[in-house]
Symmetry: C2
Subunit: 106 residues, 2 copies
């Protein structure tokens, strides 16, 4: 099995959706972690998201639907990739400002 989960085009993603997705501490932490890694995909299991499995699934879906990540199922596990350039084109500077605020201790 090798299934790319459906994601919206970035033009269909609203600013409200993006902000809501990033407002959650756990989800934002995951995105910040992704930003600090190489641009390729990474195993979902490699992120620190100390919640029940089904809750993690939920959070990945929210991030997908907000246009922040793509996700590929490999049966055994799944992998996520930050949609860095697309997201940046749609919401210029947003991820950077969030990273900056995080570094400032917010």
């Amino acid at each position: 099995m090798n299934q790319e989960l459906p994601v919206p085009g970035l033009n269909e993603v609203t600013l409200s959706e993006a902000l809501k997705a990033l407002a959650d501490n756990g989800r934002r932490a995951v995105i910040l972690d992704l930003m600090s890694r190489s641009p390729e995909e990474h195993p979902c299991s490699s992120f620190d998201l100390p919640k029940a499995k089904s809750t993690r699934t939920h959070h990945w879906r929210v991030l997908r639907e907000a246009g922040l990540v793509t996700q590929r199922e490999v049966g055994n596990g799944s992998f996520v990739r930050l949609r860095k350039d697309e997201f940046e084109a749609r919401f210029p500077g947003l991820l950077q400002s969030i990273r900056q605020a995080d570094m400032n201790g917010a």
Copy 2:
């Protein structure tokens, strides 16, 4: 009567609070409107927030508690002011990126 409503210091405001406050369409519209005006205070009644009075009160409180505005009660009406510089110091670039995304039609 002339009462300045209490607001948190910007250092006590979390990024989650700020993002949640800005994720709401109506509240974000008000902030964008404020950004386009002169830096002084403006009457609450001068903003387009087509909701019940008690709902508007609620939204202003959320914006206050997220460190985005100060509010002064004058008995007759009330006035809000964008905490532009303070917010910018705490969350650099955030308001700008939101304005940019808004101008891009998000």
